[in-house]
Amino acid sequence: MPLLPKILWSLVGVLGALAYGLAIGGIIRKVMARIQGRIGPPVWQPYLDLGKNLSLRTATHHGVMSFIAPIFRAGGGIGLYLLIPVVVGVPALENFSFSGDLLMAMYFMFFGSLGMALGAAEAGHPHSPIGISRGLSQMTAYELPFALAVVALVAQTGSFSIHEIVAAQQGGWLHWNLIQNPLAAVAAFLAFLGMNMYAPFNIVGAPQEIPVGPPTEFNSQFLSLLMVGRATFAVAKMVLYMDLFLGGATSLPEAFVKTFLIYFWSVFVGAVFPRFRTEQAIRFFLGWPTVAGVAGVLLVMLNR
């Protein structure tokens, strides 16, 4: 597929992802409210917030880093999305996934977090670095089970390329990696909880403790970019998990259903469990998920 149409299709893809991301954000908040017996904000609330930020008349920044942070954040989200083929086989939805394999995707995730961390720290308020320290610690923690799962899958399919991983899972849900290597899937999905910063792992941006932090540090267009990053980042991760464990999608509706279910898994857990302290979170991730991951890897090594 020639370059220009690919770029246009990718742009459409990104906007679609953004919309879908914001929508999911709204739905989740609605569901959480309902579980807690509240009515909760309307589902389209995120769109309103984005619109509000873009139309503000004043904007402030703290220097160079205030620009770099949102750019890294949004760039990370969008970049990650662009690197993962949403629907394998449909060139329009494969974005730029040919320029980097699963490893690239994994490391691109840090791109966003790094930007976020730098930006927040530059503001100079002590509470933001506390948030970042917790966020990064937690990130490294869930990275281990995720890495183990990835290693297991890649060893199983013999390649880092997401295309091949998806191809290997074709032919009915029995071939999905979820079934092929359930242990690795367990490890990955537990890690997924950590990635989404939902309860019980949402100590990072815990609203009542850190009144400052990114949501208040940034405003207007800066904040809007952060929301874009956050939304696209969530969507990209869902797509990635879909490709890795649920055999990718042959059509868009299928993609929507699968990703929604994946996302709901973290929401569903989040609604029920209270918040972990940071070291509890870290110990949790280095506990059962890692054991599952290692077992998954051993499983693969044995029957190879």
């Binding site: 873009l54 503000l56 904007a59 402030t60 920044h61 703290h62 220097g63 160079v64 880093m65 750019i71 949004a74 760039g75 970049g79 662009l82 040919f98 320029s99 980097g100 394999d101 490893l103 490391y107 840090f110 977090s113 790094l114 730098l118 720290a121 530059e122 503001a123 100079g124 308020h125 002590p126 670095p129 970042i132 320290s133 917790r134 990064l136 610690s137 490294t140 923690a141 990275e143 281990l144 890495a147 290693v151 297991a152 060893a155 013999g158 880092f160 390329s161 009144p211 400052v212 208040t216 540090e217 207007s220 267009q221 800066f222 809007s224 970019l225 070291e279 870290i282 890897v297 693969v300």
Partner: protein, 1054 residues
């Protein structure tokens, strides 16, 4: 030629005349004394030259009767050399002692002269009873001159020495008499001929008497008590005289008399006693706090080593030259050190803090002599020890090589324990040469100079002839070191010019790009690092003037190490690198203690590698290329030893405790080179030396376990452990130190994969690590230079004051953590592909986890220094010096090039790896996308993707919303809270406390505790051991009795 008998006759005649000549005036008698010694020296040197040129040795008879009727003397090359050495030492000692006499009398001149006559007589005589007479002459001369020093101590030690000496002479006299009775002759050679024929019972006992007598004369273990006491009590100048004359002569006599002892039992006994003396004396020296007593133990140990070698020397030419070198080295170094001890007068080790601040020549001589004593190249001692080890390895004498290495390591411990105090900056308490007369200093300079000159001449031939760049750099460094007039900045310029010139010459010279072979690759890495450091050196001042001299010697040694084809050349370069880097590390403000630890572990690594090389030499391999032929057990042993040595030098987990301090406390300018280049030399070792040895796999219960897999896990664990520890550091340089040790762990893992892709990943990471770690260290150096502190809590908010340093650190941490656009990701990607290809899954996951943890300390580094609140005192801080920034920009450019155009480095690497493995490992499809069997990566596409995103989003920020207004940090009214005063705001202390609590169980650093334990055990052994020297004369004599009975009991008294 002059008849050598005149050496004795003339000197004796003058000795008799001295009391009378003295009546004409002390000046006259002193000049006559010096002239006689000079005469003797000249004659011996002329003879030595003639004999070296092939003249016939002189066979002298006395009394007109040929042996066995009369007494005959022999003057061959060995005798000439020893006589020359004796006369020279005596001459220089006379000059020295002239200034140290409390009660000057002519008697001291007489005694010195007769002492030399006795020594020369001992060397030349071939008659057994005549040997006894000359032993008595040297003995009595020694007892007399020992009363030279301080009243009480010298008398006490002198008496003990004399008592044991008398016991020894009784044994010897009995032995000689009975031997005469048995063989009917007194001539040594004639007796050696007749002795085997004598089959009478009791011959063994007679020989034992003579042997124990001579061993008591030599003061070997357990009889070395008095010998050590005279060092403690006597005047060091006198001891220097004895070391040069009597000790060597008695040792040579022992060598001659050994010809009477046929059979392995005797050889085993002598070697065992020698080796036991060597190891025990070195062990006991560790706990010594008094310098002279330590030197005493060291002399006893060296003598033990020489005695140990004696039985092996029969006929083995290699070992003969080894002994000659070791003896010469010991005489030069020990005599020099003793004169220095006398001049300095420091009793305890601590008194030597910053010794000789007023005289550069003496300071350099002291350093040179200590290095010579420990057997570091280029000094003769190193060559001697190497040849001795090769000789032993050839005859597969492994039970001897191990204690020899252990003993040498112990020796290194206490000598550098002393050198640690000397290197400390000169305070008010440090003593110098004061108003020492030239005569006193002349000897020291002469001996140190000879040792150095001899050593350099021997090293010249090693690295491919004198024109090799390595040697040129080394010599330029030596000149810089010795000529202190050159200002420091000029030193930096010289170093910059030299490294640049060699680098350019390498690229221009034919034979394609040097990167195509491993040696070329590492040379470019080294020179690149050196270039950057020199450039930075123009900006950042250095405290010590000797920095650049040592730096060039270091770079020269590394080049030599890389380019040398032979194992010997490799090891010479290695040891040179060790001590020059040790000196540089110790130049840091608080650098001496970490330097000592650095030297201990580097020394231990050196000895491990030496052991491995000896396994190879034993199997007849002496070139690096030849290592391939090593087979079976030898290959495994060699590989394990060499790999263990490199693992210690790379500071893998468990032996890492030296690295963080050494990196942190070394001078700020040197740390980038230490972490960027020197930590890569063991990698070169692994790639070139270890890789060539095809180590067979170990058959453990769980099936075959490949050694390389173990090495990979060592690398992996180091990466994980060090990165984890780096996260909790409060000091910028220590954080980077742990980080660089961790990164090197990655490289070790990569190389251990032993696949084309693995090596590509490893070598890519070598360059990458040099670039970003150099960048980070230089940036931090700039910050430390400006702020004067290294603790995170004291910095903060410097982004406004030092923007360029901020950018360097930003680029550095992105490259380090492997975040995509920059070159770090390519390294990580290659590594994981290679690991997956090799099938080491768990190791891959562990490394992935470690690289994420690296992310933590990267952020902490940039946050604590540049982000957060700016401290009031840093308001007017200036940016780092321009030259330093230039160096940083150079490195940033390097990283950018590698990020955008990885093929620039990958193409040569493919050729290099292809040459090594025969397969490329990486297809460069369409010159853009790198594909391996597992995945693909298009650097250009990713870079453009990120760039486009960056531009688009930046444009969005600038133009989408209203013009944004910058607000100062304190004015955060918009953030709904007014912060307290700035100080409390900078959150940098214990940044990852929760993380620390989570990992608490595995964080208790067991390694430090373990090594402290090892230190204590050795110390306790030393403490217990030295208790046997009770200082009581009778106990020492009782030891002599028991010693002979024990040997008799062991069946030697046949």
């Amino acid at each position: 030629m002059v008849n050598p008998i005149l050496l004795i006759a003339v000197s004796l005649g003058v000795a008799f005349l001295l009391p009378v000549v003295d009546r004409l005036g002390r000046g006259v008698s002193r000049t006559v004394h010096l002239l006689t010694l000079a005469f003797g020296m000249l004659v011996s040197f002329r003879w030595l030259a003639a004999l070296a040129a092939g003249a016939q040795p002189a066979r002298i008879i006395t009394g007109g009767w040929p042996p066995p009727l009369g007494i005959n003397l022999f003057f061959g090359p060995l005798e000439a050399a020893l006589a020359a050495l004796a006369f020279t030492t005596a001459l220089v000692a006379a000059l020295y002692l002239a200034h140290h006499e409390q009660v000057p009398t002519v008697k001291s001149l007489v005694i010195q002269l007769v002492l030399v006559v006795g020594a020369v007589g001992l060397i030349m005589t071939r008659d057994l009873f005549n040997t006894f007479v000359f032993l008595e002459i040297t003995g009595i001369g020694t007892y007399a001159i020992l009363s030279f020093g301080r009243e009480r101590e010298s008398l006490e030690s002198g008496f003990k020495y004399m008592a044991l000496g008398s016991v020894a002479s009784i044994f010897i006299l009995l032995g000689v008499a009975f031997l005469y009775k048995l063989t009917g002759t007194l001539n040594l050679d004639d007796m050696a001929g007749r002795l085997p024929a004598v089959a009478v019972a009791g011959v063994g006992t007679v020989l034992l008497l003579l042997l124990v007598g001579l061993m008591a004369e030599l003061k070997l273990f357990p009889l070395n008590g008095p010998a050590i006491d005279i060092y403690d009590g006597g005047e060091p100048g006198v001891m220097a005289l004895l070391v040069g004359t009597t000790v060597n002569a008695v040792l040579f006599t022992f060598f001659k008399v050994l010809s009477l002892y046929r059979g392995d039992a005797w050889a085993l006994a002598v070697s065992t006693v020698g080796m036991v003396t060597f190891v025990v004396a070195n062990l006991l020296a560790i706990r010594q706090t008094r310098v002279r007593r330590m030197l005493g133990y060291s002399s006893s140990a060296q003598l033990g080593l020489l005695v140990f070698l004696l039985p092996f020397v029969r006929g083995e030419v290699v070992l003969m030259s080894a002994m000659a070198l070791l003896l010469l080295n010991h005489t030069l170094a020990k005599a020099g050190l003793l004169w220095l001890a006398g001049l300095h007068g420091g009793e305890r080790l601590e008194d030597w803090r910053g010794a000789f601040p007023d005289s550069v020549a003496l300071r350099v001589s002291l350093g040179a002599l200590i290095l010579a004593m420990v057997g570091m190249p280029p000094f003769p001692g190193f060559w001697g020890k190497w040849q001795a080890l090769v000789g032993l390895a050839r005859s597969d004498a492994w039970p001897w090589i191990v204690p020899l290495l252990v003993g040498s390591l112990l020796e290194l411990v206490y000598y550098f324990g002393w050198y640690r105090h000397i290197l400390e900056p000169a305070g008010e308490g440090s003593r110098g040469a004061g108003r020492a007369a030239f005569a006193e200093v002349a000897g020291i300079l002469l001996f140190a100079g000879t040792a150095l000159a001899l050593g350099v001449r021997m090293t010249a031939g090693i690295w491919g002839g004198p024109a090799s760049p390595a040697l040129l750099l080394g010599l330029v460094g030596l000149v810089l070191l010795l000529v202190r007039a050159i200002p420091v900045k000029a030193g930096a310029a010289v170093s910059l010019a030299a490294t640049a010139w060699i680098l350019v010459r390498m690229f221009l010279s034919g034979g394609g790009c040097p990167l195509w072979n491993v040696q070329g690759f590492f040379v470019v890495v080294t020179l690149g690092g050196a270039l950057v450091i020199s450039l930075a050196g123009l900006g950042l001042p250095v405290e010590r003037r000797s920095f650049w001299g040592l730096f060039l010697i270091l770079v020269g040694s590394i080049l030599g190490l890389i380019t040398s084809p032979s194992l010997l050349g490799f090891f010479v370069g290695w040891e040179l690198m060790t001590w020059s880097s040790y000196l540089l590390v110790s130049q840091g403000r608080k650098g001496t203690r970490p330097g000592f630890l650095y030297m201990l572990f580097s020394g231990a690594a050196g000895f491990l590698i030496l052991g491995g090389l000896m396994v190879a030499e034993g199997a007849g391999v002496d070139a690096i290329g030849g290592l391939v032929q090593l087979g079976g057990g030898a290959a495994l042993a060699a590989w394990t030893l060499v790999a263990a040595g490199f693992a210690v030098k790379v500071a893998s987990l468990g032996v890492h405790i030296w690295a963080p301090d050494a990196y942190a406390e070394s001078p700020d300018l040197f740390t980038p080179f230490l972490s960027g280049v020197i930590s890569k030399i063991p990698i070169f070792g692994l790639a070139v030396v270890a890789a060539r040895i095809a180590a067979p796999s170990l058959h453990t219960v769980a099936g075959a376990l490949e050694p390389v897999h173990v090495l990979a896990w060592v690398g992996g664990l180091t990466a994980f452990g060090m990165t984890l520890l780096a996260v909790f550091q409060e000091d910028a340089k220590r954080l980077l130190a742990y980080s660089s040790v961790g990164q090197v762990g990655y490289i070790v893992a990569a190389l251990a994969i032993m696949s084309p892709l693995g090596w590509t990943a490893g070598l890519w990471h070598v360059v990458n690590h040099l670039l970003f770690k150099g960048l980070l260290f230089l940036a931090v150096a700039g910050v430390v230079y400006r702020t004067g502190t290294r603790r995170f809590a004291d910095m903060g908010g410097l982004i406004t004051r030092m923007p360029v340093s901020f950018v360097s650190v930003l680029i550095g941490i992105i490259a380090l953590s492997g975040v995509p656009p920059l070159s770090g990701f390519a390294g990580k990607w290659l590594l994981y592909e290679a690991l997956m290809e090799r099938g080491w899954l768990l190791l891959t996951a562990a490394l992935m986890f470690a690289s994420v943890i690296a992310f933590l300390y990267c952020f902490r580094l940039i946050h604590s220094i540049f982000l957060g609140q700016l401290k009031p005192e840093h308001r007017e801080l200036r940016e780092a010096p321009p030259a330093l920034l230039a160096a940083q920009v150079l490195l940033m450019a390097g990283i950018m090039v590698l990020s955008v155009w990885p093929q620039a480095l990958l193409d040569p690497l493919q050729r290099l790896v292809g040459a090594t493995f025969g397969a490329a490992g990486l297809e460069l499809e369409g010159a853009l996308t790198l594909t391996t069997s597992f995945g693909y990566f298009n650097a250009v596409a990713i870079m453009t993707l990120v760039a486009v995103l960056f531009v688009v989003l930046l444009a969005f920020l600038l133009f989408a919303g209203p013009r944004s207004k910058k607000i100062r940090q304190l004015d955060i009214v918009y953030a709904a809270e007014v912060p307290p005063p700035p100080e409390e705001l900078h959150y940098a202390w214990a940044f990852f406390k929760p993380y620390e609590r989570a990992f608490a169980p595995i964080l208790r650093s067991a390694a430090t505790a373990f090594w402290k334990g090892v230190g204590e055990v050795t110390g306790a052994l030393g403490e217990a051991g030295r208790r046997i020297y009770t200082g009581d004369a009778q106990t020492y004599m009782l030891y002599a009795m028991l010693f002979i009975l024990v040997l008799a009991g062991l069946g030697l008294a046949g």
